[in-house]
């Protein structure tokens, strides 16, 4: 009895949400993003897109110091623990840096001695690519990792069984596993109460700041980047990411795998 009442309420809720979302879907459809309706559309301030994407302007990010504020902004707002050095191999990373040849291994070249181009001789920013065809979502046995209609690949920390199949599936090394309790490495006074901390035994990764987009804000790293990172709707030709991708030479990581990453790098 209880059960039927609950399922009635559930269906009623879904129906109401569908009715409420209709105008938004239509609006997106008329703007050219017909393929993907937004999943949630209740807050007036919420940012809605057909396909969220990020553009990393590598020309503006040169020294380690340029990256520090972005990484710190992200890790702080998402309660990403900082593990001690002896646990480096179990590190939790949502956004981090690596060399050019590690970021884009297919571009490996043999440069003449002493002639390595300076553009390659600097760190590159790495994060989850929120792929169009995410292998992690394909392999997850519980749908704990899933793709939203606007392309964002999210984790349900409560559903994850910790099988780490998504880590084997991700060709970009974008996922981290909580080998131990992450809260042990989070000073209590630094915890952001507006975002969950995680438990041991689940996988986590960058979420394109879905929680901030829902409030109409840009991702934390983008906000902290002073214009080096751009974020927006790739389906909207007038968005800053669309313009940046159109007007610059951009590359993506491991395009040969066909996952269609939504993080673009201006080089």
């Amino acid at each position: 009895m209880n059960n039927s009442r609950r399922s009635f309420l559930k269906y009623a809720g879904v129906a109401a949400a569908a009715v409420a979302a209709t105008p938004v879907v239509r609006a997106v459809a008329s703007s050219g993003g017909a393929a993907h309706g937004p999943e949630v559309g209740k807050l007036p301030t919420q940012k809605i897109a057909g396909r969220w994407a990020m553009v990393v302007d590598t020309r503006k990010l040169v020294k380690e110091a340029d990256f520090e504020p972005l990484i710190e902004a992200c890790h702080k707002v998402h309660n990403v623990p900082h593990l001690p050095d002896e646990k480096r191999e179990e590190e939790i990373k949502w956004i981090w840096t690596d060399e050019f040849e590690h970021t884009f291994p297919e571009f490996m070249s043999r440069w003449p001695k002493g002639r390595v181009p300076t553009t390659l001789n600097k760190p590159y920013l790495l994060l989850c690519n929120h792929c169009e065809y995410p292998p992690c979502v394909r392999v997850c046995p519980t749908k704990a990792t899933f793709q939203r209609a606007d392309g964002i690949v999210l984790m349900d920390f409560h559903r994850c069984i910790g099988c780490r199949y998504c880590m084997a599936g991700c060709p970009y090394g974008a996922r981290s596993f909580n080998f131990s309790d992450p809260r042990a490495y989070l000073p209590e006074e630094e915890i952001n109460m507006e975002f969950p901390t995680r438990v041991q035994g689940v996988v986590e990764k960058c979420n394109f700041c879905a929680e901030r987009l829902a409030k109409g804000l840009r991702p934390a790293c983008v906000e902290a980047s002073k214009g080096a990172l751009l974020f927006g709707d790739l389906d909207d030709p007038s968005s800053e990411v669309s313009r940046a991708v159109r007007n610059n030479f951009v590359i993506r990581r491991k395009p040969e795998l066909g996952t269609q990453p939504n993080v673009y790098y201006i080089v």
Binding site: K87, E89, E90, E91, K93, D98, E101, H102, T103, P105, M108, P135, R138, V139, C140, P141, T142, K143, A144, R159, C160, I161, G162, C163, R164, Y165, M167, A168, G169, C170, P171, Y172, G173, S176, F177, N178, F179, S180, D181, V199, Q200, G201, V202, V203, K254, L257, G258, T259
Partner: protein, 385 residues
């Protein structure tokens, strides 16, 4: 029928006691892992599956290998395998139980494992692996138990068992194929991304599984009066030899493709596995060379009939084969698949002591089940004899 397992010699009870002791120690280790997390293992962000999943993969092969006895017996009416059948079916039961055990100890949140059933996800190969493994477990329990019970009652097994037997033959191929699909469909993991992986899995299963079965059957012959017969042993040894030859051949195909194409991604894992990365040899590289030498040695000892039919030498040849295939599939496959990582870097992986102890627990659990099932089988066969 289970009551026959309750009467045994002191040696039988002593053996079960040892297994229980191992399970006790490893069980305590597991409780520790359960509390503090998988940090007690040698796994890392880069090598996120290791010893547990490798053992799981190896044992799926052991389970599937029962078909190398069941198929000739039912499809080709090869009657000499009659006494091996029940041992093969019960070995499959024990092996699948160990497989499930290794999956469970590998989970970060084992209390949530039923989520796989609550949210069935057909696009995940892990979902299908769960389906085929549990199905195979059920098939073998039912077929083995019912046939044995009817034998005990001096009646023919019921008619409905036959279709189940035929299903189990096809099913055996499916469990190892699906397990290979867990790996071979992943982008960016060159060592696994190969269409021949499933075939390699089957070849290695069909040599190592029957090899283990033969060793155990020879052991059963020693500790009890149950004798599967020299003829059956010789026939199965022949099957093992063919499968091992195919296994080695398939491996060489992989090696050729990687080396001749000269594509870096395809060569890196082989380089790491046999030469170490950038010339720095890790223990895995030494072990892989050991495996290569043992594989060749096992073929040298198994192919000439004079050596193969020598019942004193055969256990050693089989043991060498098992060691070779175990290094290849129980270590090399997983570590080579994850190394170099997505960033062309090397994160060394070695199982830790707790990891090995917990693995021994799962093995002890499987051998415990196997001992009891074999005790039942041998007792019943003695009764009817």
């Amino acid at each position: 029928m289970l009551e026959t397992a309750l009467k045994g010699s002191p040696r039988y009870w002593g053996w079960l006691g040892i297994l229980l002791a191992v399970m006790g120690i490893g069980g305590a280790m597991y409780m520790w892992q359960f509390t503090v997390g998988l940090t007690v293992t040698g796994l890392s962000r880069d090598v996120s599956w290791g010893f547990y999943i490798a053992q799981f993969t190896y044992l799926v092969g052991v389970a599937a290998a029962g078909v190398m006895v069941v198929l000739p017996y039912y499809f080709h009416h090869y009657k000499d395998f009659k006494k091996l059948i029940i041992l093969a079916e019960f070995q499959a039961v024990a092996a699948v139980i160990m497989c499930l055990g290794f999956i469970v100890v590998d989970l970060g949140q084992p209390t949530r494992m039923l989520n796989v059933l609550r949210y069935p996800t057909p696009n995940s190969i892990l979902f299908w692996d769960m389906v085929v493994l549990n199905g195979y477990l059920l098939l073998n329990i039912v077929i083995g138990w019912v046939s044995l019970q009817h034998e005990r009652n001096h009646v023919e097994p019921p008619k409905w068992v036959k279709p189940l037997v035929y299903t189990s033959i096809i099913w055996a191929f499916s469990i190892h194929t699906v397990t290979a699909f867990l790996y071979q469909g992943l982008p960016g993991r060159h060592y696994w991304l190969t269409a021949i992986l499933a075939a390699r899995f089957l070849a290695s299963a069909f040599c190592s599984g029957p090899a283990i079965l033969l060793l155990v059957a020879m052991l059963v012959r020693k500790v009890s009066d149950y004798d599967v017969g020299d003829k059956a042993i010789k026939a199965l040894a022949k099957i093992v030899t063919y499968a091992m030859a195919v296994n080695v051949f398939f491996f060489l195909l992989e090696l050729f493709t990687a080396a001749y194409s000269n594509i870096p991604g395809h060569m890196h894992s082989f380089e790491f596995l046999f030469a170490g990365h950038d010339g720095h040899m890790s223990y895995v590289s030494y072990l892989m060379w050991v495996a290569a030498i043992l594989a060749i040695a096992s073929l040298a000892l198994l192919i000439p009939p004079k050596f193969r039919d020598n019942m004193k030498l055969l256990p050693w040849s089989l043991a060498i084969l098992i060691a070779a295939s175990w290094i290849d599939k129980g270590l090399g496959l997983l570590i080579g698949g994850f190394t170099p990582n997505a960033f062309e870097g090397v994160t060394p992986y070695a199982p830790t002591l707790p990891e090995i102890m917990i693995s021994l627990t799962v093995y002890a659990m499987g051998i415990f089940v196997l001992t009891i099932l074999y005790k039942v089988a041998v007792s019943v066969k003695r009764e009817v004899a």
